[in-house]
């Protein structure tokens, strides 16, 4: 029983990376209608930048995280303005293909720039240590991750529900033409949403550097999981993405412990089943 609870807590903290990535994927899909294959690569880029700033240059951890978020947000703005904008009127397959091309490009670019194998930088001093939960030491850093994930959730709720910008975004998402007629600059809304989503992916990536090795393949692994989560939660549904992240994070934590052989198979089977039975997602209202 204690193993069960403890393993669930471990899953909860890894669910937070999934949440940060799928939150970005979800708001971009919800507003722009673009399913961004390259979102995992933005996570990877955030991890590499965070690693470089914190692990190599020696910038304080908090600043390194913010810095990598800012840079990746700018990359996102460039992608949205320069590459995606010409494709909005076309079949969505072309957006998928374009962002898929970006995956190949960015993953290889990371190999070119950073190359080689990396060691994991130490956890910053103020986040070291552990607390005893269910008779086992639980890293303090994991609690920090959960706190960040929850704050991002609350922050996004506040942003979309309580601010003028959030109202403009929701108006644009539900009827672009009408929003434009009311004087909302929809191209700016699109760019800012894409930047926010990219920054969230980078936040997840940068926060992962002290505990997970950074490698070019982490983007491709992450995007597949984020796809599963957004499908389970319902494409474009932020609450669903949160619930889906917890579900997948905790389930795969149990899966690796008790049935490692078929963990991957079952997760994809769940995704396929949701798409078939409830394409609007498990958590749709």
């Amino acid at each position: 029983m204690e193993v069960f609870a403890y393993q669930g807590l471990i899953g909860l903290s890894s669910a937070m990376y999934l949440w940060l990535v799928s939150a970005g994927l979800t708001i971009i899909f919800g507003v722009l209608g673009v399913l961004n294959f390259a979102h995992g690569s933005l996570f990877m880029l955030g991890a590499y930048l965070g690693y470089t700033l914190y692990g190599l240059v020696g910038v304080p951890f908090g600043l390194a995280v913010l810095g990598s978020m800012a840079v990746v947000a700018l990359v996102g703005a460039g992608v949205e303005r320069g590459l995606l904008r010409p494709l909005y009127g076309l079949d969505p397959s072309y957006q998928l293909l374009l962002t898929f091309g970006l995956v190949l490009f960015l993953d290889d670019l990371a190999k070119l720039v950073w190359g080689g194998v990396f060691r994991i930088p130490p956890i910053p001093g103020w986040l070291q240590g552990s607390v005893t939960l269910f008779g086992r030491p639980y890293p303090f850093y994991n609690l920090f991750l959960i706190a960040v994930g929850l704050s991002v959730g609350v922050g996004l709720w506040w942003l979309f529900d309580r601010t003028w910008w959030g109202r403009a975004v929701r108006a644009t998402a539900s009827d672009r033409e009408m929003a434009a007629a009311l004087g909302i600059r929809t191209p700016t809304v699109f760019s800012s949403v894409f930047m926010l989503g990219s920054a969230l992916a980078a936040l997840g990536g940068a926060l992962s550097t002290p505990v997970r090795p950074v490698a070019p393949g982490i983007g491709a692994a992450m995007i597949v999981q984020a796809f599963i989560i957004t499908v389970i939660g319902g494409l474009g549904n932020l609450r669903g993405a949160f619930a889906g992240s917890l579900l997948v994070g905790v389930l795969s934590s149990y899966g690796t412990l008790w049935f490692p052989e078929f963990e991957l198979f079952f997760i994809f089977a769940i995704m396929a089943a949701v798409l078939l039975v409830r394409p609007q997602g498990l958590f749709a209202r």
Binding site: P92, S93, L97, F105, V231, L264, F265
Partner: protein, 328 residues
């Protein structure tokens, strides 16, 4: 290109392919086998994407079903034909089963569903050690002799095996040409252009999509089952979703609106990769940039660009929509 010129081009290409092993090195022959395999996969994929309008990210799964089935058969019964036919049939059955579920959706949901199914096949290949050999894959697969009507042809060299692949590819591509230009092909294009209109003229949209999906899966399976006798091994990465991109990219590169597009694309993709990796290991970087450029600037692919060029020379310039239509 008019009809006569196209026939001459096809005949010339075929002659060149037949003569190839006599003039080219073994490595070039080996490379052309890979071009033919990718071409088979891409031609099948384009029936789904270019003709029917469905973007699948799971073709690697069916390729792997073909490859693993053929490998298991050849390990138990070293005879080429049962292996290749068995692999193709297994992939077609898998595509029929998974397709009957996938074609309930279109566009992004369809793409996601095929991705999930493809990855389920990948995880089986990777973890189901008893059947697939797990991450080691299957090794020591013989290039079994071709036994046909009591005639036994041994295939000790790459050059001999090349002719087996060539015959299979030519037959399959010719068959696909017939399908595309048949009433079935017309019906598939009607589904692609307007689902509602197709339904109103009495077409069974879901069944047509399923037919296209199954045929595409069978072509991927045929390409996959021709692989193990060449390489003597099969390993899980051939089933991964990133491998599904290969037929997609070949088709896009060549041009989705032309029958020859996937063939041209497969040729350019394999040759370009072979040349580029001599200079740099960063092949994906180049490929990614090319994909982005293609989607932004040349959605007609190489075949489309070539056509635009030849049309510019002639007096008559049909409107762009008709240009795509006429070339099919």
């Amino acid at each position: 290109m008019n009809d006569l010129a196209r026939r001459w081009a096809a005949a010339g290409l075929l002659l060149a392919l037949v003569l190839l092993p006599a003039v080219a090195s073994r490595y070039v022959t080996y490379l052309v086998i890979h071009i033919l395999l990718l071409a088979l996969n891409a031609v099948g994929f384009n029936l789904l994407f270019g003709q029917t309008g469905l973007l699948s990210f799971g073709q690697a799964g069916f390729y792997a079903v073909g490859a693993y089935t053929c490998a298991r058969i050849l390990l138990a019964w070293p005879s080429l034909l049962p292996g290749v036919l068995g692999g193709t049939a297994a992939a077609a059955v898998a595509a029929l089963l998974l397709g009957s579920l996938s074609v309930r959706h279109t566009r992004i949901y369809f793409a996601m569903l095929t991705l999930a199914f493809g990855m389920m096949i990948f995880s089986l290949a990777w973890k189901w050690r008893a059947v697939t050999g797990g991450d080691d894959g299957l090794v020591g697969i013989p290039r079994a002799p071709l036994e046909l009507f009591g005639l036994v042809v041994a295939l000790p060299t790459v050059e001999r095996y090349y002719y087996v692949v060539l015959v299979a590819a030519v037959l399959a591509v010719a068959l696909m040409h017939r399908v595309v230009h048949s009433p079935l092909g017309l019906a598939l294009r009607a589904v692609r252009d307007s689902e509602v209109r197709a339904e109103h003229v009495g077409l069974n949209v879901r069944r047509l999509r399923l037919v296209a999906f199954t045929v595409a899966g069978a072509y991927a399976g045929l390409a996959g089952s021709l692989l193990p006798p060449l390489e003597n091994t099969v390993t899980p990465p051939i089933a991964h979703w990133t491998a599904s991109a290969e037929p997609v990219l070949a088709t896009l590169l060549g041009g989705i609106r032309h029958f020859a597009g996937p063939l041209v694309g497969a040729f350019v993709l394999v040759v370009a990769k072979d040349v580029i990796v001599r200079f740099t290991v960063h092949w994906s970087l180049v490929l990614g940039a090319v994909v982005v450029a293609l989607v932004l600037g040349f959605r007609g692919g190489l075949a489309g660009a070539l056509e635009a060029l030849t049309l510019r020379g002639s007096r008559v310039r049909p409107v762009s929509a008709a240009a795509g239509e006429e070339a099919r």
